[in-house]
């Protein structure tokens, strides 16, 4: 039996507040939405002008002036979330062997916000193909290669074990945490600080999603713009944020009397090899990822108490994954509460998978299933129980969380209350 890996610390920076796990969970369980008109830049010339933004104050979040200067907003989120996770875990970083402590950070688009801003300066508003390097900020290289995000987190937690950024588009969060679990299981590390971050609310990201009409144009009703599984859904709402976890072996966590949120008992990813942005309707690859993740977790599909859906609110995604749930869970799919927290905090690309893992761990912890907000008119093609509008109290022992991303990535993770699983 390989080593069992559990979550013992959670840190969150999410829309609806300036950061912190508590306000995140309150927002989700109260079914409030954090989507609003974009305030981070003047979006008036864009098709989609809504987003879920973090009210982030880097200095108030504990970042030093030089950290603020050199880090992109996404890196700042990750560092703040990592610090909260480590504090929450009760681990004393000084007591850890730094060689056995690693970091994985997922990010779909890296420092896109900083790159967008800095490009505008060195090119003087895009005035030519050649750009003026003399106007580059000294930390531009850290924006250029987003492995700097993992480096920043490793520096802040004192890690000297395996450290990397995982960048698989919108499954980056699930894949980063899944990767960290594997590193502990195989013995490459004992403790991993793992999660994901993205801060894509900048002109270039808004423009590129406008260009393929992936984001919603529902600008006149920003608060209700993210409508996963609703018949009237017409695209996702861009979000931002980060969630970072402390992961460690179950036995070690118990030995030090740590609080255990949940075990990550299964993880798998598959690719659709179909289209960089399109999905086939049948959900075969996501279903296969779910099947393999459940198998790794030695969990029957009928044991799944809650499915945290990708639920982006695009026409194609919500049908695709509904098909995948039916294909993988069979009749049990109809009996299982499903929800999409993107209805409340938007779609923060690579970060969202980690934020969704946080929601799953907290659902196990508190026995509450967060709802799908804004779901008033069910889509006949999406005919499962999506937990509309209000949170539901329920014993949650086993959770399935899934993600789907540009590039064809389909990932699935199983979280479980650790005492539930036979050793």
């Amino acid at each position: 039996m390989s080593r069992r890996v559990v979550i013992t610390g959670i840190g969150v920076v999410a829309p609806g507040s300036g950061g912190g796990t508590k306000p995140f969970w309150s927002l989700l369980t109260e079914g409030r939405t954090a989507t609003r008109a974009i305030s981070l830049f003047d979006a008036s010339s864009f098709r989609s002008r809504v987003a879920a933004e973090v009210d982030f104050d880097p200095a108030a979040s504990g970042l030093r002036p030089q950290e603020i200067r050199r880090m992109d907003r996404a890196a700042q989120f990750a560092v703040v979330a990592a610090r909260e996770a480590v504090a929450d875990s009760g681990l004393e970083p000084e007591a850890l062997d730094p060689h056995r402590l690693g970091v994985t950070i997922g990010s779909a688009v890296g420092a896109t916000m900083g790159l967008d801003t800095e490009y505008n300066v060195v090119s003087d508003g895009g005035s030519g193909w050649l750009v003026d390097h003399a106007y580059a900020v000294p930390h531009l290289f850290g924006h250029f290669v987003p492995s700097s995000f993992a480096a920043e987190v490793a520096w802040t937690v004192g890690a000297q074990g395996p450290t990397a950024v995982v960048s698989t588009g919108c499954t980056s969060g699930l894949d980063s945490v899944g990767h960290a679990v594997e590193l502990i299981r195989e013995g490459s590390a004992d403790v991993m600080v793992a999660g994901a971050t993205d801060a894509p609310i900048s002109p270039i990201s808004v423009a590129c999603f406008d260009a393929i009409k992936a984001t919603t144009p529902r600008n006149d009703d920003a608060e209700h713009a993210s409508r996963p599984f609703d018949r009237t859904r017409n695209g996702f709402v861009l979000g931002e944020g980060s969630a970072v976890f402390v992961l460690e072996e179950l036995a070690a966590a118990r030995a030090r009397g740590a609080h255990v949120y949940a075990e990550i008992s299964g993880f798998a990813s598959r690719s659709n090899a179909y289209h960089m942005t399109g999905l086939r309707t049948d959900g075969v690859e996501m279903a296969e990822a779910i099947r393999v993740a459940l198998d790794e977790a030695r969990t029957d599909a009928t044991a799944v108490d809650y499915i945290n859906a990708h639920g982006s609110g695009t026409k194609q995604n919500d049908r695709h994954e509904t098909a995948a749930f039916k294909r993988s869970l069979g009749q049990h799919a109809y009996a299982t509460p499903v929800s999409s927290i993107k209805s409340m905090i938007g779609h923060s690309l690579g970060a969202i998978g980690a934020l969704e893992i946080a929601a799953c761990a907290l659902a196990v912890e508190h026995g509450v299933i967060p709802p799908t907000a804004n779901l008033h008119e069910p889509d006949p093609e999406c005919d499962l129980d999506y937990t509309p509008l209000t949170a539901r109290e329920a014993r949650v022992d086993t959770v399935l969380s899934v993600g789907s991303g540009f590039g064809g990535f389909q990932s699935a993770m199983v979280l479980a209350r650790p005492e539930r699983r036979a050793v």
Partner: protein
């Protein structure tokens, strides 16, 4: 209708020690397009470092790069893919095609989900991104390409290789600057151990455009020399930074049993791997490269004396060269192992560099020859390195490949010829 049963998984995991072997190589390098062209140039010591041609670099402090010669995209890439791919993705697709052909694999004949893709990335499709940023800032958001949403991002090469070759198994993308070229191979090996039969892996990279150049320059390690023979001199007393390049290698990594079942030609094995991270700047402690090498050799069950060659990271920055030389001296003793840096012929290829070094290690095994380091007449005496400066014939059974990513990332891989007996399993 229920699938809620405990059926045996179709892709049963293999033992954690299951062996991963290389069966295909594809190369796009500044000193050769295609594996054999590159390898012939490498053994002959023919470099590919020249004045930048992809844009007018005359106004920048650095003017030299390693650019892949003679690459005509339309000769390699279907026309419908041209508008949606960055230059480095075209190079990656080309290398993947060569690697799969070299391995003799028909991906369509693989069982469902048996093949996946893991690549390393550094800055994504930066040239494509520059064009779209220019459209955005000079004309407006509505002029941004519909392909921008994926053509520049870090996952693009994995996604495009997966789609082009129908590979539906587990896939991934790692970003750890130059260390990524080894990290990706290790992740591919993990997927083989979890049940995949074949992985397309490695790294092909490049950001030789004005915006990428500006970002590279800000990293502070780019050589401003104008003489291609004097610009990138790792381990030399005259080291003054490195020359950036484009390209890399895509490799086919297979479960040894699957490879044997189909009578595949095997270049060698990914026998071991380890990754470490340096102490935070300003904090005490040893840099992690030597520890990565030690961990990898320990996993391989190979003593330092059993290593026939080290493919060095070869930063070309005095402080970093010293750290690497110190680590090598500690492990192998003064002049205790042949050390080479064929990347002196290509420049440093970001996420592509370490994968190309692994390709070189595999061919060094095949041809029983260590490829040379060029332009460095003699390493600084204090490093006490046996630097291979002319192709050196002799059996190569075990190679240690080292890679460092800017920011503190270290990785080490042990490559062995397949014939080598392994006693530690």
């Amino acid at each position: 209708m229920t699938t809620a049963t405990r059926e045996a998984p179709a892709s049963a995991g293999r033992p954690a020690t299951a062996r991963a072997v290389f069966t295909g190589i594809g190369v796009t390098a500044p000193n050769g397009l295609g594996t054999e062209a590159w390898w012939a140039a490498t053994l002959a010591g023919r470099p590919g470092i020249r004045p930048v041609t992809r844009f007018d670099a005359s106004g920048y402090p650095a003017t030299l790069a390693g650019e892949v010669p003679g690459f005509e995209p339309k000769d390699h890439i279907p026309s419908r893919l041209l508008p949606q791919t960055d230059h480095m993705t075209r190079l990656a697709l080309t290398a993947a095609d060569e690697a799969l052909a070299d391995a003799g694999v028909d991906t369509a004949a693989l069982p469902d989900f048996a093949g996946g893709v893991v690549t390393a990335a550094s800055a994504g499709g930066f040239e494509f991104g520059q064009r779209e940023l220019q459209a955005l800032w000079s004309k407006g958001g509505q002029y941004v390409s519909a392909y921008q949403s994926f053509a520049w991002f870090y996952a693009v090469n994995t996604g495009q290789i997966s789609i082009r070759n129908g590979l539906r198994g587990p896939s991934g993308v790692l970003v750890s600057e130059q260390a990524g070229g080894l990290d990706a191979l290790a992740q591919a090996r993990r997927q083989l151990r979890r049940g995949s039969a074949l992985m397309v892996t490695g790294g092909v990279d490049g950001a030789i455009c004005p915006w990428g150049w500006t970002a590279l320059l800000s990293g502070g390690r780019i050589s401003t020399a104008t003489d291609p023979a004097r610009a990138y001199l790792p381990f030399s007393a005259d080291a003054r930074g490195h020359v950036p390049g484009e390209g890399g290698a895509i490799l086919i990594l297979e479960d040894a049993g699957s490879a044997r079942d189909r009578d595949a030609r095997v270049y060698g094995e990914l026998a071991a791997y380890a990754a470490t991270f340096d102490p935070a700047p300003g904090h005490d402690g040893e840099p992690g490269l030597g520890r990565a090498a030690e961990l990898a050799l320990a996993e391989a069950g190979i003593a330092p004396a059993g290593v026939d060659v080290v493919f060095a990271d070869a930063a070309g920055v005095p402080e970093l060269d010293r750290q690497e030389a110190d680590a090598l001296r500690r492990l192998f003793g003064p002049r205790g192992v042949p050390v080479t840096a064929p990347k002196t012929m290509t420049g440093r290829l970001s996420a592509g560099g370490a994968s190309l070094d692994v390709a070189a290690a595999l061919l060094a095994v095949r041809d029983a020859v260590i490829p040379p380091t060029v332009h460095v007449a003699e390493p600084a005496a204090e490093y006490a390195l046996d630097l291979v400066t002319d192709a050196r014939p002799g059996p190569v059974r075990t190679a240690l490949v080292l890679a460092r990513g800017q920011g503190g990332f270290n990785a080490a891989a042990v490559i062995t010829g397949d014939a080598r007996p392994r006693t530690h399993h």
